[in-house]
Amino acid sequence: MSSSSLTVQGLAKRYGDFVALAPTDLVVADGEFLTLLGPSGSGKTTLLSLLAGLVPPDEGIVRIGAQDVTYAPPYERDIGVVFQNYALFPHMTIAENIAFPLKMRKIPEAEAKKRAREALEMVHLPHIAGRYPRELSGGQQQRVALARCMVYKPSIILMDEPLGALDKKLREHMQLEIKHLHRELGTTVVYVTHDQEEAMTMSDRICLMNSGRIEQLGTPADLYFRPRTLFVADFLGESNLLPAALGPRLGDEAEIRLGSAGIPGRALANGQDLPPGSSVRVMVRPQNLSIARPSGDETAVMGRVSDVMVTGSLTKVYMQPLDAALPPLVAAFATRNEAEAIRIDDVLALSWDSRDAVVIPDRAPAAVAGIAAKAA
């Protein structure tokens, strides 16, 4: 991961009034596996199409290596694209499909055949060279699409929800296989998905997108444990988001006061630069909650258990805090022996380590301020 293989500066795309992609900066390192994650309409596919050169941008710059390719057509960029529906040419055999990019690069036929065969071996399908795409299963077509893309060793491979059409089991298998191929070949991969689990398992870094802009860019752990916005906290996994007032900073932590009662506690300041007194949310993941034995480092909330759900290895406990200003909490514990089980209507205190709690700016006041500004 030394040099950058892909650089995007101020790249933007609009369709009429609709902002498909707000001006965006992004740097992808050489050999990195970067995932563009987001709900549909978040701009991830637009960004991928701009990178592939399938759509011209309205402004901004795209560089592959040192070369400016902003307005270069796809066939002059050193890229490979794996399409959502695979886009295998139905009138060509598998071997012809895979040899197609080599033929376009004027590689001699014998050499092209040899490399196509090797590519098929790489995806464990050496015996299907003479078949037509429609004679293959979805999983096989997916692998052929991968092979067709890898055979000419483009410096970047772009994948647009390549596993979307496969069933769960096959999808998980292919995730592993793509990871292996990525490690073996060391190619830079930009991968689009709306499946957060897929993004978490596969990526070096995740670029989480929302309404045409990047919400947060970081490692899966960054996004999961240190989300910087409510959207990120909400999109990735389950989370408890408790309204709180921000107190003074203490090193990398900040004091907080939860709910109307102002339960005191601490949370990671998360690099947010907010003035004391701001209203914020504190995020804690369900698995970081435990039944309270309050000590100096822990913050605790009292409440009544409203539901208990055993989901196999985990038991989820839903608790309504006694402070009505706080939303219901969800905690996840390893499923226990029945004798020690928690029951509905038990009154508990749930606590967490301040290192597992994170301060996130509350969007609501900003929006209110915006409306007030407009009214004035």
């Binding site: 399938l54 307005y71 796809p74 066939y75 399409f83 886009a87």
Partner: protein, 594 residues
């Protein structure tokens, strides 16, 4: 709960389940019956007449056929004209169909409107328009002389050129619509994928898009060829003696000499050629492509031909890329997603060219000078004459009644057949499809003559019923084809959902299936209606001398005495068709919106 179900099933009177074959037979029987009695039988009878003269077996008609070179020469001319028509129509239709398939939204609707307008404008009107354009006092000669380029009129009519122009004009819209069905099904990401894999635009088109569109080209070619070979309007109006086509000989045999044996023999000759072409087509592409089935359904794995084809296409691609490279590149272009200005200009020019002839009738119909170009003055006299003529008015009423009856009967017979083709898992589906399409395959002239003979025996000549039956035979394949395409896009799980909610099959049909399919059914009905409204060949014989339909009346006028009233009729037909297409499109959109 389960107890309840048990008691209920005990209490209900046990009905024997209907046998599994009953439903498909009931759905398929009407069309099979119709085509057997009014297509297979009369055509068979006509063919039999060529070897049976009332007393016994004879080959005399065939001796007559091959004794002079006339018939073979005419067959050769027919093939030549049909082949030339096919080549030019397909080549011309390709860019139009391509542009329509990549266009979006209102641009697409506009393009389709203009193609449909030509498609549905009567063959007679379009052929007659060329008489006006190319005639000695016509548009071209008039313009040339007023510009002083020539001082005497040039002979443009009654030659191979004028026949070809008229034929291509008649067939081009059909070629566009047939091709479009296949092109719409080509996955648009494939050329994009080719582009990301390193193919330049020309190469991407010729090595990826073009091979995938070939079944559409083939389907269009065969539809045009078969229609052209059985066509007589254009050669009769625009051709000279040397452009006589074989169908005209059949008309002569029936109308002038009543020589059924020779008419039968010529029909055998014509039918043999057509069937040979179709068998070849089925071998190479399969009939399924005719109903717009996905491209590339069949492929021979034989490599020598494929490799040669691949080479040629690769070279074409490289050549067009070199050509494109000569022009300076405009900056922010994607991957040819948006069609180039050059393509759009060419296509619109072609659309104007195919629409213009019929529009020339409008100024002529309001002129004082009759059919000579340029029109002078303004008068409504031709319209007055038209509306005061009982002949024209009766023909109009009769045509409307017959067309309406044909629409209803075709739907009643064709819709169940389409359901059968899409939903049932019959083994003989291919054979059934070929049988249903046979009225399109068998040249119209042969059907018309055979039917005339049968109707004469049954006393149906000159009756509305006879015309409705005759027109339904030729309209019903189109109903089945359009409905098959509509039904294939219909999610059958909706029916199951309705039935699971308690709807009996007929109720599900009424409340769920038909409302959703309404627009498709309406367009099928209009297809049948318009086919009948413009039908001339069958009406030429079966209307008898007295009860003419509108096209028959038009034909009689054009061939006997050309009067400017024709221009007024043409204008009326043009407006009628435009309103119909517009209304159908509006209805379709409204049903999509709801």
């Amino acid at each position: 709960m389960s107890d309840q179900i048990m008691t209920m099933s005990h209490a209900a009177p046990r009905r024997a389940a209907p046998p599994a074959w009953r439903k498909p037979v009931l759905m398929g029987a009407p069309i099979v019956l119709l085509l057997t009695v009014f297509l297979v039988f009369p055509v068979g009878q006509l063919l039999a007449l060529s070897v049976y003269n009332g007393q016994g077996f004879t080959l005399a008609p065939y001796q007559q056929l091959f004794s002079s070179s006339l018939y073979v020469t005419v067959l050769w001319i027919t093939l030549k004209i049909s082949l030339a028509t096919t080549l030019v129509s397909v080549a011309g239709a390709y860019p139009i169909a391509y542009l329509i398939s990549v266009a979006k939204g209102p641009a697409k609707s506009r393009l389709i409107f203009w193609v449909l307008l030509s498609f549905w404008t009567s063959f007679l009107v379009r052929a007659f328009a060329w008489v006006i354009i190319l005639g000695r006092n016509g548009v071209i000669n008039g313009t040339l002389m007023s510009l002083g380029i020539t001082d005497r009129p040039i002979d443009l009519l009654y030659g191979f050129g004028s026949v070809l122009v008229g034929m291509v004009h008649a067939m081009l819209p059909l070629a566009v619509m047939t091709m479009l069905a296949v092109m719409e099904n080509i996955d648009r990401t494939l050329p994009r994928a080719a582009s990301t894999l390193g193919a330049r635009p020309g190469t991407a088109f010729w090595t990826v898009y073009f091979p995938l569109s070939l079944p559409g080209v083939a389907a269009a070619a065969i539809m045009v060829f078969v229609s052209a070979i059985g066509f007589f309007i254009v050669p009769a109006l625009l051709g000279g003696r040397r452009e006589t086509m074989i169908t005209q000989l059949i008309i002569d045999q029936i109308q002038q000499t009543l020589n059924w044996g020779l008419a039968g023999a010529i029909s055998v000759l014509l039918l043999t050629v057509v069937l040979a072409v179709f068998v070849l087509y089925d071998r190479v592409f399969g009939f399924a492509t005719l109903t717009g089935e996905t491209a590339g359904a069949t492929h021979n794995r034989d490599t020598a031909m494929r490799r040669l084809g691949g080479r040629v296409l690769g070279l074409l691609g490289a050549a067009s890329d070199a050509l494109i490279g000569l022009f300076p590149r405009r900056r922010p272009r994607g991957t040819g997603e948006t069609p180039s200005t050059a393509l759009r200009t060419v296509v619109w020019a072609m659309l104007v060219l195919i629409s213009l002839p019929a529009f020339l009738m409008i100024p002529l119909s309001f002129g004082k000078a009759g059919l000579a170009w340029p029109p002078t003055g303004f008068s409504l006299q031709w319209y007055e004459q038209l509306f005061q003529s009982p002949l024209w008015m009766q023909a109009l009423t009769r045509s409307l009644v017959v067309a309406f009856g044909t629409g209803l009967l075709s739907m009643a017979i064709g819709v169940p057949a389409a359901f059968l083709m899409v939903r049932s898992r019959m083994r003989a589906k291919g054979a059934m499809l070929a049988f249903i399409l046979s009225p399109v395959i068998v040249p119209r002239m042969i059907i018309a003559v055979g039917m005339f003979y049968l109707f004469a025996q049954m006393g149906l000549v000159g009756t509305i019923l006879g015309l409705v039956i005759g027109h339904t035979v030729v309209a019903v394949p189109y109903v089945v084809m359009t409905m098959t395409a509509v039904l294939r896009n219909y999610d059958t799980r909706l029916d199951l959902a309705a039935q699971s909610l308690g709807a009996r099959p007929l109720a599900a049909l009424r409340h769920v299936t038909f409302p959703i399919l309404g627009a498709g059914m309406l367009s099928s009905f209009l297809f049948a209606f318009a086919t009948s409204f413009d039908e001339l060949t069958i009406s030429l014989f079966s209307s008898g001398g007295l009860s003419a339909t509108l096209p028959k009346q038009f034909w009689d006028e054009v061939t006997l005495q050309v009067s400017p009233v024709i221009a007024a009729v043409s204008t009326g037909l043009l407006v009628f068709v435009a309103v119909l297409i517009y209304a159908a499109d509006r209805l379709r959109r409204r049903s999509l919106a709801s």
